[in-house]
């Protein structure tokens, strides 16, 4: 009996040695990011000391480049990272590097690499571009809120276009495009690459600031555009008094209260037969682009959903006319996904979304303040909404700081 018992004890000891080896658990890795300057910068340019960031799950870590323009991240958690960089160069540096003087305020150089999988020690080359936008989309309020009766309240939504430049800009004739926003993309970026060589954006609605008279936007000023230019503050603390809005998308059906004193936006195109104002989805996606062109936008091509020949048709806008775009996607319980991107990286290198999955939280997407210059605010524009935008429930209209 003792033999049997001892055998059992021995077997158990062997089992206790463990079937699991914890030593092969994943460990940290390193990432080296080499910056390549824009092709326009043919002259000498210093790439040392530039901040490169790697972001994942809302957390961001940064590293500085060495004299070769290489930033090294050590002790990195294996993850899927959005890698980006941006830095400013002065007008003089721009002149030295390009031989041109068309950027009197200097320029921003920016580069993005989204969803880069870092599983082992890795090296990546980050190409960059010169970003020079005078007009940017500064703020988008599409979430709506709950009113004092805890009911959904959507009429107070708006967005703003901000003038970054040092001089006033006539924004009359500027087009506003609302990007296609089906629950599954009508065209994925791969489909656009396949059929249009990555050269277009699909729009569901297009509006235009009237050309009947110039509308000068002062330096550091905002154009406020809304569906309902009334005072919404009595309905919810998240809402604003929009009676001072610059333009209003009129609701032909009369369901939304409009302000006859506010200039109407011109409706150029809509896929919705019964919706004449801006169809901003409270949970997203709600991408917006602003563009200028001399061609007849109404006559631009239209397409059905990829692979179909019936149903709604989206307007196909060549990207080269776009001044600025923001890729607003829907947040999900599994996290916002790049699979929902509608805008290619050269328009918006990232994505932005609400903290909620459903809207009605009073959240507004606000472009971050870069700095103050000569009394006006310069907003951050690295061509990457993931870095450039933040959410807020307290920032009000025409303000960009808490």
């Amino acid at each position: 009996m003792k033999v049997y018992l001892l055998s059992f004890m021995f077997l158990f000891a062997v089992l206790l040695g463990g079937c699991v080896d914890y030593q092969d658990a994943s460990g940290t890795v390193s990432l080296q990011v080499a910056i390549t300057p824009p092709s326009e910068l043919t002259g000498a340019i210093n790439l040392e000391g530039i901040s490169v960031s790697a972001s994942s799950n809302g957390k961001q870590i940064t590293a500085l480049t060495d004299d070769k323009g290489v930033a090294t991240f050590s002790g990195l958690v294996p993850e899927v990272y959005d890698i980006s960089t941006s830095w400013e160069i002065t007008a003089q540096q721009y002149n030295v590097a390009t031989g041109r003087s068309d950027q009197p305020g200097g320029a921003i150089i920016s580069g993005n690499q989204n969803a880069y999988s870092v599983f082992d020690n890795s090296n990546v080359t980050l190409s960059t571009n010169i970003i020079s936008s005078s007009l940017v989309i500064g703020k988008i309020y599409y979430a709506g809120s709950k009113d004092i009766n805890n009911r959904n309240y959507l009429p107070g939504r708006y967005f703003e276009i901000y003038n970054q430049s040092a001089s006033a800009i006539d924004v009359s004739g500027l087009y506003i495009g609302l990007v296609e926003s089906e629950s599954t993309p009508a065209y994925t970026l791969d489909n656009i690459r396949e059929e249009f060589a990555d050269s277009v954006v699909l729009l569901k609605q297009v509006f235009r600031i009237p050309t009947t008279a110039p509308f000068y936007l002062s330096s550091g000023g905002s154009v406020l555009i809304t569906n309902s230019a009334i005072d919404h503050t009595s309905n919810s603390t998240f809402e604003n008094d929009l009676t001072g809005a610059d333009f209003e998308a009129k609701d032909a059906s009369g369901r939304t209260v409009n302000n006859p004193d506010i200039s109407p936006l011109s409706l150029i195109y809509t896929i919705y037969p019964s919706i004449s104002n801006m169809n901003l989805l409270q949970s997203g996606p709600t991408g917006i682009v602003i563009f200028r062109t001399q061609i007849s936008v109404e006559n631009l091509p239209k397409v059905y959903k990829y692979g179909t020949a019936r149903g709604s048709q989206w307007l196909v806008l060549p990207k080269r006319y776009i001044i600025d775009g923001v890729d607003v996607v829907r947040n999900k319980t599994t996290g916002a996904t790049l699979a929902d991107k509608r805008l290619s990286a050269d328009i918006d290198g990232g994505i932005i979304h609400l903290n909620t999955t459903t809207g009605y939280t009073g959240e507004v997407l606000v472009r971050k303040v870069l700095r103050r210059e000569n009394g006006r605010i310069l907003l951050q524009d690295t061509n990457n909404s993931s870095n450039d935008f933040q959410t807020s429930t307290t920032i009000k209209i025409r303000n960009y700081e808490e």
Binding site: D24, S117, N150, Y306, T334, T337, L338, A339, T356
Partner: protein, 521 residues
């Protein structure tokens, strides 16, 4: 509630004291305790050994009410609990060649002020569960069925089969309202080989497959608060809170496990011994919408159980049990990407998550528990029943939860020393038994890579006080049993009340009270 229980107890006591019915020779709690002590194979998964233990026809049925309260509890346990259950089991020969055991258990209850876990298992288990930070009321209902069948000896072999079946329902009664459905079943074929017709040596072997599926198909809300957060856990303090995260939510946990157990039994008239070692391994998949997987959980369990019964001096049974079990689990964490593809012919969209990154063994669970239990049972000289007992048990437990990149961990080990005793009084009408236990937290340590997360501040850090506390615990059971005859069939009914009190070094306490009404048959 407590006053009503007291009235019931006093009334039942007075009925017994006034009764002049002579006690008949029918099985009672003492007999049940005796057969419980000497039947060793029932404490294993090997059903074939049941016919080695005993072929007695015995069972009991009872309804139980219980209440738990106090302020010494972990965050995910809830503050109070009321429970009702009905249990019935029976050992009996089946035909001429089989011996069987069956058990049915139904329990229902309500847990108050529970938070941060909407699933059945919250500790030392799969880290990919979900929950709300808002304390709420939970109702649960579980049904457990167990059936075992063993053959009488067929040559030197005995064969057996055991089936376990568990249905569970856990519902949260406050926004966000989850409802978790559980189904678990286990099939355990077994065999016992005797080394000769009258040999004292027996070798047993069983294997099993266990499948467990828990599912929360959706979450409903009565209020419409879009800012209400729902949390998705991934190990230690890592819990992602998503506003309105309950919208479009669905998740299921599917666990497949295999196991094997080897047993050796030595049985002579004055000494019974049964030692088993076992191994279990399996993996649990977690699925969300479109089969999204946050990760996969792997588990290994090992156990050793050695039981000894020494019969001496005609009326003493020395009961000695050693147990050791070890758990080694880990979770691989995934990073997945959603691809949407449209079929140009049908226009249908296909959604598919594929894994682009795997973080191996990012979450690890290790536990070890060992115990030694000695009990001296004094039996009735004239029948197979236990009249009184005295015992002692020591337990040592070590556990560790760890999350890598960046490293967070909690380590905890403790020891329990328990003294127990029980005796039948008043012509075996009254049984009083109980235990006193001292729990000593030997060491508790916790390091969190980020101690500012909601899960860290509201669960892990408060629970550390619980793990680090020493406490005293005492429990007393009082049972009254009396014979009843119905249609010429005699049985024994009993009423048991119990009270359990725990006092911790943190000046917190918890208590449990309950009452059972049962029938032996």
């Amino acid at each position: 509630m407590k006053s009503k229980l007291l009235i019931i107890v006093l009334l039942s006591h007075s009925v017994v004291l006034w009764s002049n019915t002579p006690r008949q020779n029918i099985l009672d709690l003492g007999n049940y305790m005796f057969f419980d002590a000497v039947r060793l194979w029932k404490n294993t998964n090997n059903a074939a050994g049941l016919s080695l233990d005993s072929l007695v026809h015995l069972g009991q049925s009872a309804i139980n009410f219980g209440h738990r309260g106090g302020n010494f509890y972990k965050v995910q346990e809830g503050t109070r609990q009321n429970q009702f259950s009905f249990v019935s089991d029976q050992y009996q020969p089946v035909g001429k060649k089989l011996y069987g055991y069956g058990k049915f258990e139904f329990e229902t209850g309500r847990i108050q002020e529970r938070a941060w876990s909407d699933v059945f298992r919250s500790y030392n288990t799969n880290p990919y569960f979900t929950g709300s930070a808002i304390p709420g009321r939970y109702d649960y209902q579980n049904i457990l069925l167990t059936a075992s069948l063993a053959t009488l000896p067929m040559g030197n072999f005995r064969y057996g089969m055991k089936v376990n079946y568990l249905l569970g329902d856990l519902s949260r009664l406050r926004d966000p309202r989850t409802r978790s459905n559980l189904l678990e079943y286990q099939l355990i074929p077994s065999v016992v080989y005797s080394l000769g017709e009258n040999s004292p040596h027996h070798i047993g072997l069983n294997g099993y497959y266990k499948r467990r599926k828990e599912k929360i198909p959706n979450i409903t809300t009565v209020q419409t608060d879009p800012s209400m957060q729902y949390y998705f856990m991934s190990g230690m303090e890592n819990a992602l809170g998503v506003a309105s995260g309950f919208n479009g939510y669905n998740r299921e946990w599917v666990d497949h496990r295999f196991g094997a157990e080897l047993a050796y039994s030595y049985r002579i008239p004055h000494y019974y011994m049964l030692t088993t070692i076992g191994l279990e391994w399996g993996e649990e998949s977690v699925y969300g919408t479109y089969k999204y997987e946050p990760g996969k959980y792997y588990g290994y369990r090992y156990h050793l159980h050695s039981q000894h019964r020494i019969f001496s001096s005609g009326n003493k049974i020395h009961q000695l049990d050693f147990q050791a079990q070890m758990q080694q689990d880990y979770a691989d964490e995934y990073r997945q990407e959603l691809t949407v593809s449209a079929d140009p012919l049908t226009g249908y969209n296909s959604y598919h998550y594929h894994t682009i990154l795997t973080l191996k063994k990012r979450y690890q669970v290790q536990t070890f528990e060992t115990s030694a239990h000695y009990r001296l049972n004094i039996t009735d000289q004239t029948s197979s029943r236990i009249d009184s007992y005295l015992g002692m048990k020591t337990t040592f437990v070590w556990m560790q939860n760890k999350y890598l990149l960046h490293t967070s961990y909690r380590k905890h080990n403790f020891m329990n020393v328990m003294l127990e005793a029980g005796k039948f009084l008043l012509n075996n009408r009254l049984k009083i038994d109980g235990h006193g236990l001292y729990h000593r937290a030997l060491s508790t340590s916790q390091h969190l890579a980020d101690n500012t997360t909601d899960y860290a501040t509201q669960v892990l850090i408060p629970d550390l006080d619980y793990y680090g506390a020493h406490y005293w615990n005492g429990r007393m059971n009082i049972s009254l049993q009396l014979p009843v005859t119905w249609k010429k069939h005699s049985s024994m009914i009993y009423i048991t009340t119990f009270a359990d009190y725990l006092r911790a070094s943190t000046r917190q306490h918890s208590h449990r009270v309950g009452i059972s009404l049962g029938l032996l048959h």
